[in-house]
């Protein structure tokens, strides 16, 4: 028996790590990975609540979150490749113009 609060704390910690990485990292790929970390933290709380309330809908929601994350990763990485092609850099500090 593991209390629900432990899972929530772990999930909150993962989410906070994602937020911190999003803010302090300068590499655009690492920033993107921080977003994935945030999504994973949210997924953990979804599954924990699903187990707690005996509601399977939570697990189905996790499935949807994963599908959206996969779509987001595909499009986001394509954008990163496109940005790298025009800027020759992955540092977000140097990507400061919308237009070339």
């Amino acid at each position: 028996m593991v209390p629900l609060s432990y899972y929530l704390l772990l999930s909150g910690f993962l989410f906070a790590c994602g937020v911190v990485g999003f803010l302090i990292k300068r590499n655009i790929i690492t920033i993107f990975m921080s977003i994935e970390l945030m999504l994973n933290g949210v997924n953990l709380s979804f599954v924990a609540f699903a187990a707690h309330w005996h509601a399977l809908s939570g697990q189905v929601f996790v499935f949807f979150v994963m599908v959206v994350a996969a779509a987001e990763a595909a499009v986001g990485l394509a954008i990163i490749i496109s940005v790298y092609r025009t800027r020759e850099t992955l540092n977000v500090d140097q990507v400061n113009l919308l237009k070339l």
Partner: protein, 172 residues
């Protein structure tokens, strides 16, 4: 201390260590590998919560497909160490204590308000057949909408990642 709690703590320690390592590493490939460790440990947590389907999908889709995509892009773009940037002094001065206070407060509230509740492991009736029943009956419309979303994402990725010369609708 029960065996489930020990397993939870072990997987949780891997999660926490991987997440902190993701922030500490400067090279993106090291961050990607620690993120894979986090996802694998999360799959273990899902198993502890009785969610076998989600654990399997976590390993196959997240640790398998999405992270392979990340590692592939890192190697394709030959991403190197990220440069040091000067951070704001005020942010460190006020942000770190504020974050500590906020996290301790939140942990205290969460532990206090739900301290007696417990998640019985394996008590959840969640075999993949039940999830399939939900997914293809109750959530059929969202399921179809996500399939359309995936299709659009595939086309968008192809259009965005294709070379500018080869795309017909190129505007200089």
């Amino acid at each position: 201390m029960s065996f489930h709690l020990i397993l939870f703590l072990a997987f949780g320690a891997v999660c926490v260590g991987g997440a902190v390592n993701l922030l500490a590493q400067r090279h993106p490939i090291n961050s990607a590998l620690s993120l894979i460790a986090v996802m694998a440990a999360l799959a273990g947590e899902y198993l502890l919560l009785g969610a076998e389907f989600v654990a399997a999908v976590q390993v196959i889709v997240y640790a398998g497909a999405i992270m392979v995509l990340f590692v592939f892009v890192i190697m394709l773009l030959n991403a190197g160490e990220e440069e040091e940037t000067k951070g704001s002094r005020v942010a460190v001065l006020f942000g770190v204590p504020g974050m500590l206070i906020a996290s301790v407060l939140m942990a205290w509230v969460v532990l206090r308000r739900s301290g007696t509740e417990a998640v019985p492991i394996g008590a959840l009736p969640g075999p993949p057949t039940d999830i399939a029943q939900l997914l293809f009956h109750d959530f059929l419309l969202p399921f179809e909408v996500t399939s359309v979303l995936i299709l659009i994402a595939i086309m968008g990725a192809v259009v965005l990642a294709s070379k500018p010369e080869s795309s017909s609708g190129e505007v200089d």
